[in-house]
């Protein structure tokens, strides 16, 4: 017979998996939007965003109840602390995806700039990191964390190069300033999504090892 606390924690785990998969689908839509692939109707995307927001509130509510009524300790305590952090990170991923989808509508020379500076590679990498992070939580797989950190570093480096190149392009061709600026903002949003995903992985590490690895390089962590 599962205890009442175990039942609550199980419920919480399922909600985190759900909110994670919703955010993952929003990131996929943002990637498609940037790459000019067919995207879902904006009504659908907005609906998913609302679901994410509601689940975020629900997670907070369950965590508050568990803290107040169940006095979790040890791994249960770490799970609840992490659940609240993960929920916040995922909710931000959802928001940033929405912003990217809205923003990319206004990028006119999108295709030209994107193919020129290998943006597809970067945004696909961000999509990949969200998928890997969700799997990492679902399987409580700390071996995946190192790869997630590596992916994040690659994304940052490639994004930084791409932004430099876009700025050079804007300097030499003033017609691209509007689109280039929007694209830089979109890239920065994607970078933030990768950061939030990495933060989720950090929370998973904390859950498993009871060790905080924020603000450290992964190699210094263990």
């Amino acid at each position: 017979m599962a205890s009442h606390l175990e039942t609550e924690l199980g419920k919480l785990r399922m909600i985190i998996i759900k909110i994670g998969s919703l955010a993952e689908s929003q990131v996929a839509e943002a990637v498609k939007a940037v790459l000019s692939e067919p995207v879902l109707e904006s009504k659908e995307v907005k609906k998913t965003e609302n679901k994410i927001d509601k689940l975020d509130v629900k997670i907070d509510d369950i965590c508050q109840s568990v803290f107040a009524l169940q006095q979790p300790v040890a791994s249960d305590l770490r799970f609840i602390i992490s659940a609240m952090q993960i929920s916040r990170e995922i909710e931000r991923i959802g928001d940033l995806s929405m912003s990217i989808i809205k923003l990319t509508k206004s990028i006119k020379e999108k295709h030209e700039l994107i193919s020129k500076f290998e943006i597809a590679d970067i945004v696909r990498g961000v999509e990949d990191i969200t998928i890997q992070t969700n799997a990492c939580f679902q399987n409580m797989d700390e071996t995946a964390i190192e790869e997630i950190f590596k992916l994040n570093r690659d994304i940052k480096s490639k994004s930084s190069d791409a932004i430099d190149n876009i700025i050079s392009e804007m300097k030499s061709n003033s017609k691209t300033v509007g689109s280039g600026t929007s694209l830089i903002i979109a890239l920065k949003h994607f970078e933030r999504i990768a950061d939030h995903s990495t933060n989720v992985a950090e929370s998973v590490y904390f859950m498993i090892n009871a060790k905080t690895i924020k603000h450290e390089k992964f190699s210094d962590k263990k």
Partner: protein, 250 residues
């Protein structure tokens, strides 16, 4: 209609005014925790629900308590029937000096059940109900005193349930138990509320949080606050309640 309804209940031990104008309603199939410092009246109130205080000389009660809409202090109340309907579990496990089987069967026999098969069936069902069966199935003929404190307490709960009450009163049922036994009893309470209305007195506020749906905070004979347990433990309306549950009392 509420399962239990108390209106303007006052209770006196001689000159001592122990409960003051308590009005409290409890829904069916819920767990209500009564919390408060020692001497606040919570156990006194609990014992009013099956008229256990009648056994104390020099006491007086005014007001009204109804179960299923029927005034339990009416002149024509059959107190034996009331106590069959409102079972009670005490602070310390108090099994009879009999076998494990007999501890549960005894109440059935006293209540006129003579059919051996029926007795056996109800003993097994209730022992299963309190999640004790796997631990005692091979030693039903052994003395109940051979069981651990936690097992004895679950046996006492089985004994109370065997006569099919609809309400279960628990007066600090885990205060004499270790954390593992406490956790088993708490999980049991959580399961039992599907079939019973449970009122539990506890000094352990964390326990109130873990097991109850509603919580009543008593202080110096008064009901200070009564609300959903989540509300009491996250945003109590009265400062006295907040001070008590956060340990800043007095």
């Amino acid at each position: 209609m509420h399962k239990i309804e108390s209106n303007n209940v006052n209770f006196y031990y001689g000159e001592n005014h122990a409960l003051r104008d308590i009005s409290l309603s409890m829904k069916e199939n819920t767990v209500t925790a009564l919390i408060g410092p020692s001497g606040c009246g919570k156990s006194t109130y609990l014992r009013l629900l099956n008229r256990m205080n009648d056994l104390i000389d020099g006491t007086k009660m005014t007001g009204n308590i109804a179960i299923d809409g029927v005034d339990i202090y009416a002149k024509n109340t059959n107190v034996d029937n009331l106590r069959k309907n409102v079972g009670m579990v005490f602070q310390k496990p108090n099994p009879f000096p009999k076998t494990i089987f007999e501890n549960v069967a005894y109440g059935l026999r006293v209540n006129g059940i003579t059919d051996k098969n029926e007795i056996e069936e109800r003993v097994i069902t209730t022992i299963e109900q309190v999640a004790l069966w796997d631990e005692v199935k091979d030693k039903l003929k052994k003395s109940a005193f051979e069981l651990s404190g936690g097992q004895q307490q679950r046996l006492c709960i089985a004994r109370a349930l065997a006569i099919k009450p609809s309400i279960l009163l628990m007066d600090e049922p885990t205060s004499a138990l270790d954390p593992i036994s406490t956790s088993k009893i708490e999980e049991l309470i959580y399961e039992l509320k599907n079939k019973y209305t449970i009122v539990i007195v506890t000094h352990n506020m964390q326990q109130a949080g873990r097991v109850s749906d509603t919580t009543a905070f008593f202080y110096m004979g008064e009901l200070i606050e009564y609300d959903k347990t989540k509300t009491i433990f996250t945003k109590p309306a009265i400062k006295q309640t907040e001070d008590y549950i956060t340990g800043r009392f007095g």
